[in-house]
């Protein structure tokens, strides 16, 4: 915790460097600069690797794009015509150079299938994917915190052992079930049997109601994982001296848990949510297939399995990677604001 860091001032002694001026603000600012520089360089390197690896990987996808695009009735001459039009007859390094030059201008090329800029197709789907993944992360973070805290408080000091055991079993089972299985189960229960929610996306339904099951299926497993960790953290925090003191002062429960315990849990929960969101982007692509959700999943599956649409695949992988990297960076910045120790500097 930042409060503890501030309170544990270094003790001067022989060989200890003498600090000039107001040491804390200056060193914190420097730490931030070095942190942002370090992470900025890392981001650029990661993106460069992403661009290069993506170019190389799509070459390994089985199937000839020209044959796929030309269609089953095409003659060989028509297939070769398509190959020329797509630039696939060019030498490897020419294709790579053209690709790199394009990417520098955020141009991933024209979609083989749609004949429009690939990034345009991908960006049309991104909001749909982000709508369910971001909502799911917020929900699993908040609900996981609430559930973990509640059970942690209820079972502190080895109280209510049945609750702790039940909690462990239930959350363990749920978090171990793959997201696509949960999604299918939700469809069966809420759409097919109970008929209270739509089974999939359709213009016949409102966007909000169609999003409930996809968000729920992405939320439940992660929520259980967060709750399990938060519960353990809660148990540890409740044994801290400052919490004993707060309880000794008979502070109201809301003040005790919301003001003194929750902020200390946020570091762990936020770190975890960043990892979960990155993983959820992968899960969302599968979940979208279950719910016919018009996000990146369908675009990528069609691009790989049907069209061999290299520009779309490259643009989609780049965008997903970029989202993941940026979110990780944002969460690290937030963690830095909450707890400067996470900036990676050995201070004091």
């Amino acid at each position: 915790m930042s409060t503890q860091t501030h309170e544990s001032s270094p003790v001067s002694g022989p060989g200890t460097p003498v600090l000039d001026g107001p040491p804390r603000a200056a060193s914190l600012g420097g730490a931030w600069r070095r942190f942002l520089l370090r992470r900025g360089v890392g981001l650029v390197i990661n993106l460069a690797l992403l661009v290069i690896v993506t170019f190389l990987i799509v070459q390994l996808i089985p199937g000839d794009p020209a044959t796929a695009i030309a269609g089953e009735s095409a003659t060989l001459a028509q297939v070769e015509l398509v190959r020329t039009q797509l630039g696939l007859d060019q030498p490897f390094f020419v294709q790579f150079g053209t690709y790199l030059l394009g990417v520098l201008q955020l141009d991933f090329g024209t979609s083989f299938r749609y004949r429009v800029p690939a990034l345009e197709v991908v960006m049309a789907a991104v909001p749909f994917t982000l709508a369910i993944t971001v909502a799911a992360v917020i929900l699993l973070l908040v609900l996981g915190l609430a559930l973990g805290m509640a059970v942690g408080v209820a079972t502190r000091g080895d109280r209510r052992r049945w609750l702790g055991g039940t909690f462990n079993v239930v959350t363990g089972v749920i978090s171990s079930v793959p997201v696509y299985v949960q999604a299918t189960a939700f469809v069966v229960i809420f759409a097919v049997l109970l008929r209270v929610l739509p089974p999939a996306y359709s213009p016949a339904y409102g966007f909000g109601i169609a999003a409930i099951l996809p968000i729920a299926s992405l939320t439940v497993g992660g929520m259980c994982s967060v709750a399990r960790i938060v519960r353990r953290e809660t148990a540890v925090i409740l044994e801290q001296d400052y919490m004993r003191t707060a309880r000794g002062w008979r502070l109201p429960a809301l003040s005790l848990y919301a003001r003194h315990m929750l902020p200390n849990l946020l570091t762990t929960a936020l770190t975890l949510s960043g990892i979960i969101l990155t993983a959820l982007l992968g899960s969302a692509l599968i979940t979208e297939a279950v719910f016919a959700w018009p996000g990146l999943g369908g675009v990528i599956v069609q691009a790989i399995a049907i069209d061999k649409d290299y520009p779309i695949i490259r643009a989609a992988v780049f965008v997903i990677g970029l989202i993941s990297l940026v979110i990780t960076l944002v969460i690290d910045v937030i963690l830095g604001l909450i707890d400067p120790r996470t900036l990676g500097e050995k201070r004091g």
Partner: protein
């Protein structure tokens, strides 16, 4: 600490907002009596809104909504008028059409013979694989000349090489007439942004690439074909979303999320006994076993008709149907669906299932079977049938694009292959040409690498005949030569079903599912 509290508050507010949005966003789908909209699905996203460049099924489907063709497939007879009211052929190279005088483009421009000629010239002049396929299906392999007479209201089509299938060819959605506004802005045409380009009943009013398309009925459109069995009102709006999963389609249809859905598997059976749904079926693909007879390829079937016949005896088409198509396919007696015009309709030329007889020749043979990757149950069935007859079978199941490429260009890598033939074009000559005539390397489409001069003669006679009776006689004779030589073995016709929920109707016309014939029946 203040920052932490703010974060907590923000998270709670966000979740609350989401919950409210979720709870307030929905409404129950309307039934047919309450709506003027049809919600339907496409398996894959359309790639282009230019009908001339349409190559995938979804492209062809949406082209039908926006662009009218000269002729249409009919319900009580094979052909009915579209933009043409009368048509005649004086030979297989000379055709004449009388164009209706009341048809207009979406921007009000009259659709005259000159407008149609300009659209055809655009199609035939394109260097695009989709356009070249449409050109070949509509006008054959030679050059086509279009002569328009706006005063007389006629369009004459003259072909440099005889092509007897033109009248059926110009029913294809890829030959849909593009109005002058579309030809002036071909990029906008492909993107669907030129409203004046549309000649058909609907205009594209909204689309998101890879996701959805919305079509709106034109107020001034009154050029519907004279179908006699199509009843109900055309939808004012058609929403098309991309949804490839059959289970999801069935769930959406049951919940009212879509009004019409296409099924290729047993999900269709969920609706067949239910009076709340109507079902129509049509041939989607024809599955055939192709024997590689390429000289010097090393194929065990080259010059060995007895061995080809033995394979045909070793395989039970119904078993293939059960393994690969949930038993939903229908019998097939020739190169394509028995429902095709001029297709053989009885099985007398097929080999009876007789694995005992087959094993006499197949025992000890090494056979390389080529099939596409997503057909594991069918591949297993075929391989095990041949193994049961004593053959050693090596199965190769590449990606569909590689499978196509291998069959066409790498005859040294396979002995027998499963070929999937599109069964929606209605043109039998395309399927006949898979098993005779020039190979792909020679500019043709003969995937069996056969040498069948007698069959070629019948095929060409059918292509050159002006009257439909002579065409059929020759096309039937060509099919007989193919089957007598066992150049291929018909397996099964993959039959797909369209299911409409109560209040909506959809129609199959002469074996062709026409999206523009979807109706609201209240």
């Amino acid at each position: 600490m203040v920052r932490k509290s703010l974060l907590t508050t923000a998270a709670v507010v966000a979740v609350g907002s989401l919950a409210l949005a979720g709870c307030s966003g929905g409404s129950a789908p309307a039934d047919g009596a309450e709506t003027d909209t049809i919600n339907a699905e496409l398996w894959y996203a359309p790639a282009t809104f230019d009908p001339a460049k349409a190559s995938a099924t979804s492209d062809r489907t949406i082209a039908r909504l926006g662009f009218d063709t000269l002729l249409r497939q009919g319900d009580t007879e094979a052909l009915v008028g579209g933009l043409a009211t009368e048509w005649e052929s004086t030979s297989a190279s000379e055709y004449s059409f009388t164009i209706r005088d009341d048809a207009t483009c979406a921007d009000g421009t009259a659709i005259t013979p000159s407008v149609i000629a300009a659209s055809f010239e655009y199609l035939t002049g394109l260097e695009d694989s989709g356009a070249q396929t449409w050109k070949a299906q509509a006008f054959g392999t030679g050059e086509a000349t279009f002569t328009a007479d706006d005063e007389a209201g006629t369009l004459d089509v003259s072909l440099s090489e005889p092509y007897s299938q033109l009248l059926y060819g110009v029913t294809g959605s890829g030959t849909g007439i593009i109005c002058p506004a579309g030809l002036e802005d071909t990029e906008g045409l492909a993107a669907g942004t030129v409203e004046g380009a549309f000649s058909g009943p609907y205009t594209l009013t909204d689309s998101t690439a890879g996701v959805s398309a919305t079509y709106s009925l034109r107020d001034d459109y009154d050029a519907w074909p004279a179908w006699e069995t199509v009843e109900g009102e055309p939808a004012a709006t058609i929403n098309l979303t991309v949804q490839p999963d059959s289970n999801t389609s069935a769930n959406l249809l049951e919940s009212g999320g879509v009004d019409v859905a296409r099924f290729y598997d047993s999900n269709a059976l969920r609706f067949e006994e239910d009076d709340s749904y109507s079902v129509v079926s049509f041939a989607s693909s024809a599955y055939n076993l192709v024997f590689n007879q390429s000289p010097g390829s090393g194929s065990v079937f080259e010059g060995n008709p007895e061995l080809r016949a033995a394979v045909a005896q070793a395989i039970d088409p119904q078993g293939f149907n059960n393994a690969g198509l949930d038993g939903l396919g229908v019998e097939q007696f020739t190169v394509n669906s028995a429902s095709y015009n001029c297709a053989l309709e009885e099985p007398s030329l097929l080999h009876d299932y007789d694995p005992a007889a087959a094993s006499e020749l197949l025992t000890g043979q090494n056979i390389r079977l080529l099939i596409m990757s997503n057909w594991d149950p069918a591949a297993d069935y075929l391989a095990e049938s041949l193994r049961a007859a004593g053959a050693t079978v090596e199965v190769s199941a590449p990606d569909p694009a590689d499978w196509t490429k291998q069959m066409r260009t790498e005859p040294g890598t396979w002995d027998v292959a499963v070929a999937a033939e599109n069964a929606e074009s209605g043109l039998i000559h395309l399927s006949i040409a898979r098993y005779l005539g020039p190979t792909y390397a020679e500019g043709g489409t003969n995937v069996a690498y056969t040498d069948n001069p007698e069959g070629v003669e019948f095929y060409e006679a059918g292509m050159n005949a002006a009257d439909s009776e002579t065409q059929c006689e020759n096309f039937l004779a060509a099919q007989e030569t193919i089957l007598e030589d066992t150049a291929m073995m018909p397996l099964i016709t993959d039959t797909h079903r369209y299911v409409a929920r109560d209040g909506f109707a959809t129609y199959v016309l002469s074996g062709y599912w026409d999206i523009s014939a979807m109706r609201i029946v209240g």
